[in-house]
Symmetry: C2
Subunit: 256 residues, 2 copies
């Protein structure tokens, strides 16, 4: 097996792919999936470390001439991170001149990767234990990084801005729609549910207010069970009321 | 002055522009502004009737290689509809294969306009009396059309779908943020305010519920004045409480 950690190899591979990309992909347009994970009460994001320049990227890619855009972003996530079955939503576009061109400054001007790219941002929120990322041929690793630790790594281009905007979109989304289904275990405490919202909002919430709002929405059902084993009084377990959850998902949290 | 109503002229003009476009614009990418107007208690949308094929279009266009995307959509609206100073928000992307290619089927394959376009949707809501549209060289007219009468005209490509999605985005927006500032006159009745929301939502709202929610938000201030001249009891006039309006704009209608 050849190592793909060698800098010379990784440059050669980019040049080789460039020629293939010109035949296959629409120029000037890319897609970037921002996959958030909720784990240990904190938010993570899925990133790839490129062999070339050893910087971190969202696992993005390009759109085939022959392909619907919605299919492109699914294929890109599969090819770059080995992940299937993730439902992503578009949240924004990043279209400033010179946002990406200078990253490949060592290469000839006609490199596919070196042109101006307007990128389309997509996001999703998943349980990272259910997704197993696999790095592609260009990447040393593909792994989850805690949002609170992104300052410690070198993110390429404007990918930090894209992640921040995706997080804003997620924060806006939880002011409109309920979340948590498929993200929390089947049975959970109100405190665990609150921690999900606190992780997304990046701040502590008042417990009394939060519980009152959740109860008013009616999306949770209290079970006749408690979470045993803690040092404190065993807290009640809850589950989602599927019917009411789906109704709120459809109608939204605030209705005129 | 040459007429630009002649079909032969309009085809020649498209061919001429095609060659210029190839030098200037990024291929495969377009922007489409959906400008909504609120007038006579109903929603309108700004459309251009193209001389070629006499079909109606959103006043969209392309992105220059040298231009930031945010500047492109402002320039396009100015060039296609003569309108400046409109703040637009991105709301969605339309990227299916064959969404636009067949419209220019009479032309050679190398026509700029005939390639596959992925289009970026932007929207805004304005008082149409403050915007005066002017048709461009390709268009017979550029004017406001009532949403409820769109079935009566021939809209090109997937532009009806783009308008419908923009309206959904607007409906979602009013579940998150207050609207109405710069759209209603300085002083208005609660009934007039309610009609704005009903126009956007496309349905009647319960008067009591609506008034209660508006009062809870605190974004309106009751004036010591009434609207005179109607057949009924003179209704109270209201104005926006600017501080509370801006606070709600920042924080949103629903807060965890």
């Amino acid at each position: 097996m050849t190592s793909n950690n060698n800098s010379m190899d990784s440059k050669q591979l980019i040049i080789q792919r460039s020629e293939e990309h010109k035949q296959l992909f629409i120029p000037n347009l890319s897609v970037d999936p921002v996959i958030f994970g909720f784990d240990q009460n904190k938010l993570k994001v899925l990133l790839s470390k490129l062999n070339y320049k050893k910087m971190w990227f969202l696992p993005g890619g390009y759109v085939k001439y022959s392909e619907d855009l919605d299919d492109a972003v699914i294929r890109v996530l599969k090819e770059r991170a080995g992940i299937s079955g993730v439902f992503m939503e578009h949240f924004g576009i990043f279209g400033k001149t010179n946002r990406s061109e200078s990253f490949f400054d060592e290469f000839d001007e006609d490199l596919f990767h070196k042109q101006r790219f307007i990128t389309l941002g997509y996001y999703a929120l998943y349980n990272p234990n259910k997704l197993n990322p696999i790095p592609d041929e260009l990447s040393e690793v593909c792994e989850w990084k805690y949002i609170c630790e992104l300052d410690k790594i070198r993110l390429a281009m404007d990918h930090r801005e894209i992640i921040d905007k995706a997080l804003l979109a997620l924060q806006e989304k939880i002011a409109i729609k309920p979340i948590g289904y498929n993200l929390l275990p089947e049975k959970f405490t109100l405190s665990e549910f609150q921690k999900l919202y606190e992780a997304i909002l990046g701040k502590e919430l008042n417990r009394g207010n939060f519980y009152r709002k959740i109860k008013n929405l009616g999306i949770l059902r209290k079970l006749d069970e408690q979470r045993r084993g803690g040092a404190h009084k065993a807290p009640d377990l809850y589950t989602f009321d599927e019917e009411q959850y789906n109704k709120t998902l459809k109608n939204g949290l605030f209705n005129w």
